[in-house]
């Protein structure tokens, strides 16, 4: 039935005004979702991006990967209990100094086995495995904004040990700080500088696949990646807050459309009376109302999304913003579904209109 579209085309001003508000609200919602993802990534990107599906950590760490401690021998023991690849991981926050100025820079070391599967994708320079320099480090490319280039030497602020920048990777963040990948042996060197009796230990053992049933070691547990991310400090709190605001906004914007539509419906009661009098079935009228709401919400979603994508391309790179297509699709679909649902209030109103109102003129 194209009555719906014909009416929208005929009363352009009225519907453009409604559409304008809808577009702004959708834009706000989608933008917020980009912000939620961006902030989430700033905390978890380096864990999220790994090839690992599960992590073995110590039970007493209560799923907090950074506080977990695993003895060196457990790596081989774990490897013997699964057909998947396993590799060690250490995470440690620190600071580094550059030799260009006095600035201290935040960094989180991801200490990995250079031959293992946790190696990041290199965007510039070379990976740890090929590096010939002593104590090589692969940095997130945000360090390039600090004028650090390949071949530079940076100094670990705590120990004074010098690290050589051999390559860059991108979008590697953990706990709002950029990540530097170092070899497990470099990590041991760093720790022995502080504590000479340090023996190699790991925070976690990453498992590449899902063959985990047989991994059963006393004091250790196997935790999936999503749980690890959820338990990163601040992650759940941030995500919960923003997502709650986001979904409340989705519901509000759909309700706004519903209310607008209800007001329009009340204005058009006579018109619906006429349609009923000339024999239009309630099912046809329902289709007419619902398709109008569908058209309005669909246009709002499409333009609002385009606006968000356009805006995203203009944001400074320091702003944590990242649009995830599945998330945008879910928001859009949920919005349209709730809109259709709220339009049922209008349908109910129309169902109650007695076509007799138009007989006998306008009393």
């Amino acid at each position: 039935m194209n009555l719906a579209w014909k009416e929208i085309r005929h009363s352009k001003t009225k519907y453009i005004l409604i559409e304008g508000i809808l577009i702004l609200m959708i834009f706000m919602v989608v933008f917020l979702s980009g912000l939620a993802n961006g902030l989430g990534d700033a905390i978890s990107a380096s864990i999220d991006k790994t090839d690992a599906e599960y992590f073995v950590i110590s039970t007493d760490a209560e799923k907090l990967i950074a506080t977990s401690k695993i003895d060196k021998e457990m790596l081989e023991k774990t490897a013997s209990m699964t057909n998947d690849q396993v590799t060690s991981l250490n995470i440690k926050r620190s600071n580094v100094n550059t030799f260009k100025d006095e600035k201290k820079l935040d960094i989180t070391y991801f200490a990995i086995d250079p031959n293992g599967f946790l190696n990041p994708d290199i965007t510039e320079g070379e990976g740890l495995v090929n590096a010939k320099a002593e104590n090589p480090v692969v940095l997130d490319d945000s360090f390039q904004e600090q004028d650090i280039v390949i071949g530079d030497v940076i100094e670990d602020s705590v120990t004074g040990i010098k690290l050589t920048v051999v390559g860059f990777t991108k979008d590697e963040l953990y706990g709002h700080s950029p990540v530097g990948f170092i070899g497990a042996d470099t990590f041991t060197t760093l720790n022995q500088e502080i504590n000479s009796s340090y023996v190699e230990k790991y925070n976690a053992i990453a498992v590449q696949g899902s063959d985990i049933e047989k991994i059963n070691i006393k004091g250790l547990e196997v935790v999936d990646k999503a749980t690890i991310i959820n338990n990163l400090p601040g992650y759940a709190a941030e995500q919960l807050t923003i997502k709650m605001i986001l979904w409340v906004l989705v519901v509000i914007s759909a309700a706004v459309l519903g209310v607008f539509f209800y007001v329009i419906t009340i204005q058009k009661q006579k018109q619906f009376g006429v349609l009923k009098a000339i024999g239009m079935k309630m099912s046809e009228i329902t289709g007419y109302i619902m398709s109008q709401v569908f058209i309005l919400s669909l246009i709002g979603v499409v333009i609002g999304n385009l606006l968000s994508v356009g805006m995203a391309s203009m944001l400074p790179s320091s702003m944590p913003f990242f649009l995830k297509t599945p998330m945008v699709i879910i928001i859009s679909v949920v919005f349209i579904v709730i809109s259709l649902f709220t339009s049922l209030v209008s349908v109910r109103k129309v169902a109650k209109v007695d076509p007799m109102v138009i007989i006998g003129g306008n009393e």
Partner: protein, 227 residues
């Protein structure tokens, strides 16, 4: 000839406080195809109720209604919608056209609604031309004069090839000359398509155009003139 509309002993009363208010009391009426009937009466005499009952919009408290040989009495709401769609053509007091459809679309809407029941081979263009509305075909109601709008409404009432045309004070919103023209057109189409028509009116000046005049007064219906 079979009657297009038959009202047998129709009564309609409303609960009014403690007592009952009899709007219509034991009314009977028969209208044949091609017959143009006028119902006159003072306001408040139940003309609207009478028209609503004849038009399957309202059920009588008592009595039976037959439209095109179909008894309405025991039908549920959905069936009444179907009756209105297929057997009844309404002309309202003010045109009540849809503001967002052109004159032609107003007619094709009714045509599409009746596409599947094999009724109506009338062409919207012919109908418009017949009523002198050829130039209005692509105009929206807001761009038409009052008389033009009411003529489109007349055309719409015929588009479902109904058994009966019901007109509710079709001249009320028009001046004398235009009102007369509109009733003349209703008459012309009624005769041409051999439809039964009932017009409720209190415009005395157009009564010479109808075949039979009834007066509705004190809840009863009385034949006044048989022209």
């Amino acid at each position: 000839m079979k009657n297009a509309l038959e009202l047998n002993n129709i009564s309609k009363s409303y609960q009014d406080g403690e007592g009952e208010n009899n709007i219509l009391n034991n009314i009977s009426l028969e209208v044949k195809p091609g017959e143009f009937v006028a119902i006159v009466g003072p306001s408040g005499s139940g003309k609207s109720t009478f028209l609503s009952i004849s038009g399957a919009l309202l059920s009588p408290s008592d009595g039976s209604v037959m439209v095109g040989g179909t008894e309405l009495g025991k039908k549920n709401k959905k069936k009444l919608v179907k009756i209105r769609r297929e057997k009844i053509g309404f002309i309202f007091q003010s045109h009540h056209l849809l503001p967002f459809l052109t004159a032609k679309e107003q007619l094709t809407l009714v045509q599409k609604m009746n596409k599947n029941n094999g009724k109506s081979d009338l062409r919207a263009e012919d109908m418009l031309a017949d009523l002198g509305l050829a130039e209005c075909a692509d105009k929206f109601p807001a761009k038409m004069s009052g008389g033009e709008k009411q003529r489109v409404a007349i055309a719409r009432a015929f588009m479902n090839d109904p058994d009966i045309i019901l007109a509710d004070e079709p001249t009320a919103s028009l001046d004398g000359a235009r009102g007369r023209q509109v009733v003349e057109l209703i008459k012309k189409e009624v005769k041409k398509h051999q439809k039964a028509a009932i017009m409720v009116t209190h415009d005395e000046r157009v009564l010479d155009l109808v075949d039979v005049i009834y007066r509705l007064e004190n809840a009863g219906l009385k034949k006044v003139v048989n022209q």
